[in-house]
Symmetry: C2
Subunit: 446 residues, 2 copies
């Protein structure tokens, strides 16, 4: 019975939890098995421990307790003239997108998980996604924050200004800090014009260097109208077709690489289509691409995006794999892939490279699957050795071992191999300055 | 003779200066009257004191001494495929622009002082300028930094990545810190496609609300092609015409307000012109503007920009004035101007509002000149009272009292009236964490 009390403390038996319950009410104090979904990451790698999960309803409640922010889910303001929206951290990303759209505006942050991830999480991890090429990461989309800091005070930094040079950039310090410096409770984000038209094309290519030339061509011709540029190797699309048979690559033959290109246009469908055709014609003339398919309807466009968006699920259906979320300078991607593929084949003959990603941002999901026929678990035992090869290569090429996924607990130790002591010291100084008692998300980042 | 030695210490008589000379050589150690131009700000408001000015040639030299960075003026790398450029802090802004252009790319940061200001200064003050609407402030244009920190170590944060989520955003902490956290010695900045065409129009309008409607129309029709949107009141252009008679407003009648609108287009002159004509036609149809002139040549376009760029000089030629570099949410600008103009007229009857600026960013140079006939010096004695009215209004409207000019020494005390204790405390904590001995640009910001 004692053990049971420890695992499922009743608020009445615990002064701290009773105090929490007094703040949020009994239904918003979660204990015991009901906590399970809060304590495990989605890949099942890490399991946390907690006495309770407390769900505050507003910033004042956050200032006192620790916490799920799911109830801080109000859109506080939409200002279409200032092109800003103020939302609480517990708002789902899709809710923010919808509120912007209802006012005739665009909130461009877009992720596969937008139906379940929250704005607070997006900001704490400086989320990327598919629209970074045009609109930037979460950091570039935020103008102001409201934060509960480690001493319990609330910082009202909810500015909705494009320009403010009155001191240190605290906003960008909290963004991407993964909750280790304070708790973001609300934010002012930027809105944009809804494009008049979106058009999509799929290109088949020989190899990454051609993809880079196509990227340069598209940037020159389209500038900010280029809103998506995703690279996918053939193995990625083969896995998609295997595990999601309703999805098919729209070419008659197989090709080594594919690029999904999206344009967003302020003018019209006709203008967007002619711009896309001009890019495709030039690419064919210059011999950059082997084949091209231009979506002629929204459903064709959606089918192209579905290929891209099902890669992760197809890969999971195929078996376990070793994932890397890396970025290198765009000009070095082709060399990085060549060299690193070769090193991995040498060390782990037959391993399968399931690499795809946001080529326009220099960001690849450079994932490695077991050789055909090898047991996943045997291959996963090599994970540390695989990571070492990939991440050492990333470092050599001036890259990042976590382009958009953060450090969390998984890469907290590994980053010390690649970041200078000077930088680690500065990060630690800032952590100590803003959270001297290490109360904020301990065990993450640092 | 003693006094003379104090004022002009000879390196040989001073161990510290002798050590500096040993590092940089005698010609790069400046003492006595030769220091004058380093010790006075351009408006002549503040004069500093120094034993010597030391001009290091590279980052290693910076790590030891204090310093003019004019000799750190190398473009280290231009990478047109990655769309990045690496330059040292002492490079002139124009030098950076030119190096980008020589590689067929655009570095969009643009200021009236680009021929004399340096990249290091631009980053330390998070400079704005005329292209913020499309490309962002200096902060949004930087990917990586090299910084000499307070303990003398060099932080190599010269990343050229669009995505890197591996810890705290130190980069954006140094940018805009006005040298108080460390010394930026080099940076990686973003490059963009050179537009195929740039077109310009001047619109005459009744009042700021019409300018805001025109802004919304232009953003909707042109999205990122809208690269300039500057508001100027009639008094601004009257002063320009008075003091620069070769410059003329291209309308037959006077109008209360004017907007200078610029589009940058990735396609062609013809496409840009047709887009601009469509915006102008809609604006006229909707009754937003009283008149419009579309530049039909580069020289006409340059003449329009000259009107905008001569306002500051015309104002200086007219006499002293009290300047405010403010930002408010764009949706509140019209109300801000109405209310604040009225409050100032009430307190200082006849004072002249010379307001103009980057309306597309919510940033106004909201300057106040003496009533006609009143002696400037008499009016300037009211400066504190004028500032109080303007800045209290800015605060009330959720704005910034320094949109793009920083705090420096001038606004260091005043900002305490408007920033919360929580924010000042966090800034101070960070300052102490990164510069515990207060060695870095003491007396500024905090």
């Amino acid at each position: 019975m004692n053990a049971d009390i420890t695992a499922h403390p009743h608020p009445k038996n615990d002064a701290f939890l009773a105090a929490c319950e007094a703040v949020v009410g009994a239904t918003n104090l979660i204990t015991g098995d009901d906590m399970a979904r809060y304590l495990t990451d989605w890949r099942g790698r890490f399991t946390g421990h907690a006495r309770a999960v407390v769900r505050p309803a507003d910033t004042a409640q956050v200032a006192a307790i620790v916490l799920s922010l799911a109830r801080l889910n109000r859109i506080r303001e939409v200002d279409p003239v200032n092109d800003t929206l103020t939302a609480e951290a517990g708002c789902l990303l899709q809710q923010v997108q919808d509120a912007a759209a209802a006012a005739g505006r665009l909130f461009p942050l877009s992720l596969a998980s937008e139906g379940s991830c929250t704005l607070g999480g997006n900001l704490s991890t400086n989320a990327g996604g598919t629209a970074v090429l045009r609109y930037g990461n979460a950091r570039e989309l935020a103008l102001g924050l409201e934060v509960v800091i480690a001493d319990g005070r609330i910082w009202n930094g909810l500015r909705s200004l494009r320009k403010d040079n009155t001191g240190y950039d605290l906003r960008d310090l909290f963004i991407g800090a993964e909750g280790t410096l304070g708790i973001i409770t609300a934010a002012v984000v930027k809105l944009f014009a809804q494009p008049a038209a979106r058009v999509t094309a799929l290109f088949a290519l020989d190899a990454p260097p051609q993809a880079l030339s196509l990227l340069a061509l598209a940037k020159q011709r389209c500038d900010a109208a280029l809103t998506g540029f995703e690279l996918m190797s053939d193995i990625c699309l083969q896995l998609v077709e295997k595990h999601f048979p309703q999805l098919r690559t729209p070419f008659n033959a197989r090709h080594p690489q594919y690029v999904l290109l999206e344009l967003s246009d302020a003018e019209s469908d006709a203008h967007a289509a002619s711009l896309l055709e001009a890019v495709a014609s030039s690419a064919i003339e210059q011999g950059l691409v082997r084949d091209a398919v231009l979506a002629s309807s929204l459903s064709q466009s959606a089918a192209m995006w579905a290929l891209r968006e099902h890669i992760s699920m197809a890969q999971a259906a195929e078996g376990k794999n070793i994932k890397h979320d890396i970025a290198v300078p765009i000009s070095r991607i082709a060399d990085f892939i060549d060299e690193t593929d070769a090193l991995l084949q040498q060390a782990f003959p037959g391993c399968r490279m399931v690499s795809f990603g946001h080529l326009g941002d220099g960001n690849l999901h450079y994932n490695v699957s077991a050789p055909l026929g090898q047991d996943d678990q045997v291959f996963l035992q090599q994970q540390a050795a695989v990571n070492l090869i990939v991440h050492d290569q990333v470092h050599k090429f001036g890259g990042s071992i976590s382009a958009e996924h953060g450090l969390g607990a998984l890469k907290r130790e590994e980053i010390r191999r690649y970041k200078s002591g000077t930088e680690m010291d500065m990060m630690m100084s800032i952590k100590r300055a803003l959270d001297p008692l290490n109360l904020m998300n301990p065990g993450k980042v640092l």
